[in-house]
Structures are given as C-alpha cells and as structure tokens.
C-alpha cells in the first residue's frame, strides 16, 4: 500500500482506507490483464455502509496519480438495504428514519411490520463490479 496522504483524520480516513484497498486491487488486476490504462472502475456500495461517496472519490483521485488508474472515472452505484425480522418473519425494505442529521434518510434496524429489532439482510457490500481498461495490441498476449 502507498503511504497514506495527510487526509483530515476526522473525515476522510475511513474512505481513504477503502480507496487504498480499491486502487491496490484494481492496479493488481490491471497489471495482470496487461492493461495500458484503466478508464473506469464501477463500485457498488450498500446503503447500510457508512461510506461517503464524495470523500471516496476525493481519496481515489488523490492516490491514483502515477498508477494505471490515473484519470479513471469512479462510478458508484448504491445497492438497496433490506432487513429480515426474526420476530415476525418480515423480509424486505427497511424502515427509514428522517430524523437523522445525515442529509439523507437513514435505513434503520427497526422492523417496519412489528417494530422489534430486525437484522440487516442486504446493503452491506462495498465491492468492485467492473473495470474498463485499454490494452495495447499485443500479439504475444493474443497468442497466449
């Protein structure tokens, strides 16, 4: 891993750790694929995670300089949260809370049916879904 940049520890470090893992994984993948340049990386981030997209983009941009990912676009899709209730067997979208001061509705673990504690079923992922890259024509590679 590259040595960490002096991001503001109060805000960006958590996204920084994830950006570092992201760049490291894609760089290794791109080298294996003999990519000339990575054009786009597509990520899916679950609604239950606490990953701030803009901060992740900022960290991504600041650590891709000099790598095959330099100037690559970071596309982020959000995957919906779902909960499963062990009390009433409800499975489906969570109850959202509009009282949070987070700018958006926040998914909760309160069962929308019975009001007891549900378990998170979906929406916890943070995964690379696709990498778009260029490869210079390489007869040796084609033959292999």
């Amino acid at each position: 891993m590259n040595s960490p940049q002096p991001c503001s520890p109060s805000k960006t470090m958590h996204e920084f750790s994830i950006a570092a893992a992201l760049v490291e994984s894609v760089q290794a993948f791109a080298e294996k694929e003999r990519a000339a340049r990575v054009i786009e990386v597509r990520l899916t981030i679950g609604e239950f995670t606490h990953i701030e997209h803009e901060q992740l983009r900022f960290c991504f941009q600041s650590i891709t300089t000099g790598t095959l990912l330099e100037n690559a676009t970071l596309e982020i899709d959000t995957s919906d949260a779902a909960v499963r209730c062990p009390h009433c067997a409800y499975t489906g979208p969570p109850k959202y809370w509009d009282g949070a001061l987070a700018g958006t509705l926040v998914p909760t673990l309160q069962c929308p049916e019975c009001g007891k504690s549900a378990e998170p079923a979906e929406g916890h992922e943070c995964a690379i879904k696709a990498v778009k890259f260029t490869r210079e024509n390489d007869p040796e590679y084609e033959a292999a």
């Binding site: 958590h14 920084f16 750790s17 809370w97 009001g115 943070c126 690379i128 260029t134």
Partner: protein, 231 residues
C-alpha cells in the same frame, strides 16, 4: 480508404488500443472481514469474549474501561487493547490496574482493524482471560465498516457532546449491542434529555441496551459490568 466499384470507401482501422470491460466481484471489506472471523474463532476457542468500545474523543471510553477493569479484575481475567493514535497516556493509566495491556498504534491513525487486533492477540496469554476490552480510536466516523472479531460492540456517547450524537452518526449505532450514555451527572447542566437520546438509539435498533453512566458518581457502572458479563 479503399476503392470498390470505383467509389472510395472509408475504412476504420482498429485503434492501437482496444477497450475491455470486465465484470468482477471483489469485495473491498472482505480481507478485514476474514481476519475478524479468524480473530473471533481464536477467541472462542479460548473462551474469551472481546468487547469493542467506540466513541468520540473525550466521551470517556478510557475512564469507563479503567473503572470496569477495577470492578472485574478480582472476579475474572481481563485484558485491555488500547488503540490510542498518538500517545501511550491512556495505556499508562490502565496499566496501573496491573492487568495485561497491549497498546495498538495505528499508522493511519484512524481506526483499528482486524489485522492489528490479530497481532495484539498474539502478544497475550489467552488462557488466563475471560474478557478483553478493545478501545478503538476516538472516532465516530470510521470504525463501523471494520469489524475486529469482537463479540459485542459498545458505543459510548456522553451528554457533553450535545443532544444530536445519535442523529449525527446513526450508522455507528446499527452495529452496537450496548450504548452507554456517559457523564449523566452533567445532564441537567447540559440540558440534555437522556430519554430523547435513548429514544433516538431505539429508533435505529430497538433491542440495543442503553446504559446511562457516570464515572464520577459511579452510576450505572454495576449495570454496565453485569451487561458485559452477560455477553
């Protein structure tokens, strides 16, 4: 250009670069997640419970842990992992309790991860232990996505942080089993309603155990110790 039937037709030559779009399924949280599972398995084999403390700087995590260690050390084997980012002051305070302690210095200074906790587990004798307190770094933003292998998570908030801690950091509470509202002796002076904070926590997750505490008066510490022993 090529000529066909007397007409010049433009031809497109393959670019020296080809574009590839390859689908993957690569989790960025999996590496830490696997290490957390391994830590948990190691702890389970030795019958040791680890509890992870999260909370803002100044919420009182270290003092709470020190008080709990004081209460519990004569009954069960306890140890403390301290993740203070910059100093060993916190570790020194707990060290006076004369229990095993490991200071975990994070390079990034942001949060503990399962790898660091795994290394700390290698430094103590698990045979004699029943409970490990893991004090995460004072940061309510980061650690939710990085499980450590603990059996339960405690989130510590204090009334001096104002009335909106739960509403400002809702994600942190979703993974918690116990929420401690600390410094309740100052609640009246701070005009903070413990009921409102508790209601906010339960809006996010109804079965979280909320324990109001004060390390100055000792309020709630017995209940907190009992809750930890029940995990």
């Amino acid at each position: 250009m090529s000529e066909r039937a007397g007409i010049m037709i433009p031809t497109i030559e393959a670019s020296p670069e080809e574009i590839y779009d390859i689908e993957l399924e690569h989790s960025l949280l999996e590496a830490n997640g696997k290490l957390a599972v391994a830590n948990r398995a190691l702890l389970d084999r030795h019958g040791v419970t680890a509890v992870d403390f999260m909370g803002a700087i100044g919420s009182g995590k270290t003092t709470l842990i020190t008080k709990l260690v004081e209460k519990l050390k004569s009954k069960i084997g306890v140890a403390v992992f301290n993740g203070d980012a910059t100093t060993s002051d916190d570790a020194d305070g707990i060290a006076r309790q004369n229990v095993p302690i490991v200071q975990i210095a994070t390079v990034n200074g942001c949060h503990l991860d399962a790898n660091l906790v795994g290394k700390a587990l290698g430094k103590i004798d698990l045979e004699e232990l029943r409970l490990i307190f893991i004090e995460n770094i004072g940061n309510l933003i980061c650690p939710a996505e990085f499980p450590l292998g603990s059996k339960a998570r405690v989130v510590v908030i204090s009334v001096t942080e104002g009335p909106w801690m739960v509403r400002k950091h809702p994600h942190m509470f979703l993974g918690a089993q116990i929420v401690v509202i600390n410094k309740v002796d100052l609640a009246a002076a701070m005009e903070i309603s413990i009921e409102n904070l508790t209601r906010d926590v339960h809006t996010l997750k109804p079965d979280i155990q909320v324990i109001p505490t004060s390390t100055r008066t000792g309020a709630g510490l017995d209940e907190f110790a009992a809750a930890l022993l029940a995990i």
